[in-house]
């Protein structure tokens, strides 16, 4: 047994001494070129797509694995990569490979042959407003025509799971406010409250709406406003205080106690960010790799532009000067159709993007806050 042990020990030691440097060299990207028999530095490409399971061709050869995948042992230089997926346009690029380096093509958004667009409501709307917790408010001049839309459905890796939309009127027919007309809506991002300024029987009324309740709780707080404010804002973590901005003063209004406090501009709380006056025109999506942008009435997608000239894809036409909203939880874009004014949803991301890959900045698409150069 002792001799057997010694022999096996020496065999294993020799094997280790041979394979360890080979594996380390392989790990560093060194391989032997079968044609020249020289040791060459190689690079690799990491490819992940949205949706996954796309076939990858490199220089015309099909890779063994579908996306996400790593293509190894690539000689330095340009390689032509084509990605194919049923129901989506092919993605093709010349990708430069550098020895010992990894080229990262993460979260390539594959463009569908036809964008899946769903009409959520056939009723025309004037605009849409976004509140927290998957709630959309579709507005119209008449208060009785304002609807609340709850987007429901489980959050899964695959966004293809059907979502349903519950639509209900904000004001019931019997409501004393139903006959009024909408003047303005004040809202704050990620806040379940909205403030509706309405004209009811020729009088200005301010209605504080708690959307967390079902049906929504509506409270007339008109008495708390001395005059018509230029704007109203509140902190989305504070459910009690709102700030009314008048031409010459600011007041803090406590909704719960129905009390008013004069407020200096210096004492305003942090995070009091009013919604922008202009409708939201652009969204960075897919782990910040792609840009959804509206130019005129067209909503367009600009995919990553690395290794190729930028190309825009038209998604749909929306009603000008209305809001559009991208819901990250289910990868859908909400907008009002340009022709009919009805509320529509376009599924942009078929899957959740793969996050947390420490992709070097140099490998990422450079999308400035102003969008790509057009």
């Amino acid at each position: 047994m002792l001799w057997t042990r010694k022999i096996v020990f020496y065999i294993f030691t020799v094997i280790y001494l041979i394979i360890c440097p080979l594996i380390v060299a392989r790990m560093l990207g060194f391989v032997i070129n079968p044609q020249t028999h020289h040791i060459v530095k190689t690079g690799l490409v990491y490819v992940s797509t949205n949706p996954p399971d796309a076939a990858v061709y490199i220089d015309g050869c099909l890779a063994h694995q579908k996306t996400p995948t790593v293509l190894r042992d690539l000689a330095p230089g340009e390689h032509f990569i084509r990605i194919e997926h049923n129901g989506y346009n092919d993605w093709e690029r010349n990708v430069p490979i550098v020895g010992k380096k990894a080229t990262v093509l993460a979260n390539i958004l594959l463009i569908p042959e036809k964008w899946p667009i769903y009409k959520i409501s056939s009723r025309p709307y004037q605009n849409i407003i976004f509140a927290a917790d998957d709630i959309l408010i579709a507005t119209n001049p008449g208060l009785k025509s304002i609807d609340i839309i709850h987007t429901t459905g489980g959050i899964t890796e695959n966004f293809k799971e059907e979502h349903t939309y519950d639509i209900s009127p904000l004001f019931s027919r019997n409501s004393i406010y139903a006959s009024g007309s909408l003047v303005r809506v004040f809202n704050v991002l990620q806040s379940p409250f909205i403030l509706i300024e309405a004209s009811i029987k020729d009088k200005h009324r301010f209605l504080w709406v708690n959307l967390k309740e079902n049906p929504p709780l509506i409270e007339d707080i008109s008495d708390l406003f001395g005059e018509i404010p230029t704007r109203v804002a509140w902190n989305n973590t504070d459910n009690e205080n709102i700030f009314a901005f008048y031409p010459h003063s600011i007041c803090r209004i406590n909704i719960k106690d129905k009390s008013i406090f004069p407020q200096g501009p210096k004492g305003l709380p942090e995070g009091l960010v009013p919604m922008p006056n202009n409708p939201m025109e652009r969204f960075l999506i897919n782990d910040n790799n792609d840009l959804l942008i509206r130019r005129g009435s067209w909503i367009r997608l600009y995919p990553k532009k690395e290794f190729a000239s930028p190309q825009a894809y038209d998604i749909a036409q929306s009603r000008p000067s209305t809001n559009m909203y991208f819901e990250e939880k289910n990868g859908e874009l909400f907008y009002l159709d340009n022709g009919s004014g009805s509320l529509c949803a376009a599924r942009i991301l078929p899957y959740h993007p793969i996050l947390n890959i420490p992709i070097p900045e140099s490998m990422r698409t450079k999308i400035s806050s102003n969008g790509p150069n057009l």
Binding site: M1, F12, I19, R26, M27, L44, K100, A102
Partner: protein, 546 residues
């Protein structure tokens, strides 16, 4: 070589060297761990290369160990039904016996043939050595059971197992090494057992070890030494030469297999240099294996397997736990160290140094069963297992003493010194670090990957290489599971297969066990030694279901 095998009462120069060597293992272990962590953060390339090289060496070691685990297990099976008594009687008339068995084909089964071949080889070696062999009727066994807090339910099965041996019981002396500070109930249980078994053996008595003896620490070795000295006086009074006595120092829970002493006697007789040898059986922890939490089962089965693997390499084998040795050697080396916790391995090193390297450990393919550390509840058992492993890892206390002895010795060959020093040092270093590197630190380069590292091929290649290595590791674990299941004792419960399936799944805890019950206690022990906070002997909790 005359050598004071202790860390106490050293001259200034030796004391400084001792202290430096005490710091060395812990400092190296911490340097490896912290160095790899820092490299993973600041130089992930280098860390990844080192870690992959380590993983490769680890998998080679695992596969290598698996081969010898299987071979050792087969050897254990081969010798399972050996008629040791018949062989002993044969050796009593050696020349005739060799002729008899050489001429006939032995056994139909391949196991019997291999066993026979080994037997014949050992007999020929004995014959060639031309050393007189004591007759089996002149060989005596001294068994010492150190007792401090073990109850009757623990000790009695151990002595009962000896009383059922197929060796002559009147050639056996049982000594209970009882600590003076043991509880009265424990003391009375021991005295009851002495009364019960007094006439079964040549003698059976208890020796009470005083609580406070100058120069002694509160360790098992001091207790066993006190008992062995009393036993020596007994043998002298009976005119039994120490050369014919084999001493076995067993933990109180040690239940020997039926043919343990006949097997031991055989190995003692066939070993030409029997006065300079220890005899190491395979300890298994089956006494209460089905009554302990799963993790404890896996930990102890792993310990048994480690010994099975080590048994295939007698050149590097060091005594562990319950074992046996020549009583003359024990007396020559002045008994066990009385101030060290790791008396089981220390006695080997003490003898190895005393005989200038002319001392060996003979593996015996026979099992003795002990208790798995077990307390009243899961958490206490975990603590108990942890402390037991820490005590085992405290064997690192031998390193500074052995190195000091090697530096002084001129008779031990340099190669042997280097071989043993490396094994001792590397063994403790990898014990304290491997688990952490495999389970935690190995992932750090990828976790701490900064952008330049994430843009390299290494970042993408490391996980693939590591996965392949772990798949090979899993293959090895599967073999271990199969062997573990076949070694386990039969149980009388209804759904035995369900229990076995559960045990197989328990092996999936290996990554956690590696860290919590192997690397962590070892690092803890080395850190204590490094800081000079010496461990006190802690008696493992042992409970059995009634």
């Amino acid at each position: 070589m005359k050598f004071h095998y202790s860390k106490e009462n050293l001259k200034t120069g030796q004391a400084k060297l001792q202290r430096f060597l005490e710091i060395l293992p812990g400092a190296c272990s911490w340097s490896v761990l912290l160095g790899l962590i820092l490299l993973s953060i600041f130089f992930p390339f280098i860390a990844a290369i080192l870690i992959v090289a380590f993983y490769l060496s680890w998998i080679m070691r695992i596969l290598y160990s698996t081969i010898f685990l299987v071979l050792s297990y087969l050897q254990l099976n081969i010798e399972k039904n050996t008629d040791w008594i018949g062989r002993i009687q044969g050796i009593d008339r050696l020349a005739v016996y060799i002729k008899e068995i050489s001429s006939k084909r032995f056994g139909r089964h391949w196991r019997q043939r291999i066993s026979h071949k080994n037997h014949l080889r050992q007999l020929n070696e004995l014959l060639e050595a031309q050393v007189p062999t004591p007759a089996s009727k002149d060989i005596y066994h001294l068994v010492i059971f150190p007792v401090i807090k073990e109850g009757r339910e623990i000790i009695e099965p151990a002595i009962e197992a000896i009383s059922r041996q197929n060796f002559h019981l009147k050639q056996m002396v049982i000594v209970f090494a009882l600590e003076e500070r043991a509880a009265p109930t424990v003391q009375s249980a021991v005295h009851d057992l002495v009364k019960k078994y007094k006439n079964v053996f040549l003698d059976c008595f208890a020796v009470v070890h005083p609580a406070l003896v100058p120069g002694e620490a509160r360790v098992k070795g001091a207790n066993a030494t006190c008992a062995a000295k009393k036993a020596a006086a007994l043998f002298q009074s009976h005119h039994i030469p120490f050369e014919n006595v084999i001493i076995s120092c067993f933990d109180a829970d040690t239940v020997v297999s039926l043919n343990y002493f006949s097997c031991l006697t055989y190995h003692f007789m066939v070993c030409p240099d029997r006065q300079r040898a220890s005899f190491q059986p395979i300890p298994v922890y089956h006494n209460n294996i089905w009554n302990v939490p799963g993790f404890a089962r896996v930990v102890e089965t792993g310990s048994s397997f480690y010994l099975l693997i080590e048994a295939t390499n007698p050149e590097k084998l060091v005594t562990f736990s319950s074992h046996s040795m020549s009583f003359k050697a024990l007396v020559d080396v002045d008994y066990w160290p009385v101030d060290m916790i790791s008396d089981d391995s220390a006695i080997f090193w003490k003898a190895y140094i005393h005989y200038d390297g002319q001392y060996q450990v003979i593996p015996m393919y026979v099992t003795l069963s002990m208790d798995v550390a077990c307390a009243n509840n899961w958490w206490q058992t975990a603590k108990s297992v942890y402390k037991q492993k820490q005590r085992w890892a405290w064997g690192v206390e031998n390193f500074p003493i052995v190195i000091r002895a090697f530096l002084r010795s001129k008779k031990i060959p340099l190669y042997e010194k280097l071989r043993h020093s490396f094994k001792l040092f590397e063994g403790h270093l990898s014990w304290a670090t491997s688990g952490f590197i495999l389970s935690i630190i190995g992932w750090l380069p990828v976790i701490f990957a900064r952008r330049e590292f994430a843009a390299s091929v290494v970042y993408y290649n490391v996980p693939d290489i590591v996965n392949t290595i772990f798949v090979l590791g899993f293959f090895s674990i599967c073999i271990t599971i199969v062997l573990s299941l076949s070694l386990l004792p039969k149980t009388k419960i209804r759904y035995r297969w369900l229990l076995k399936l559960g045990h197989a799944l328990e092996w999936l805890m290996v990554p956690f066990i590696l860290v919590l019950f192997s690397a962590l206690p070892a690092l803890h022990a080395q850190t204590r030694l490094m800081r000079g906070r010496y461990l006190e002997f802690w008696v493992t909790d042992k409970h059995r279901a009634k």
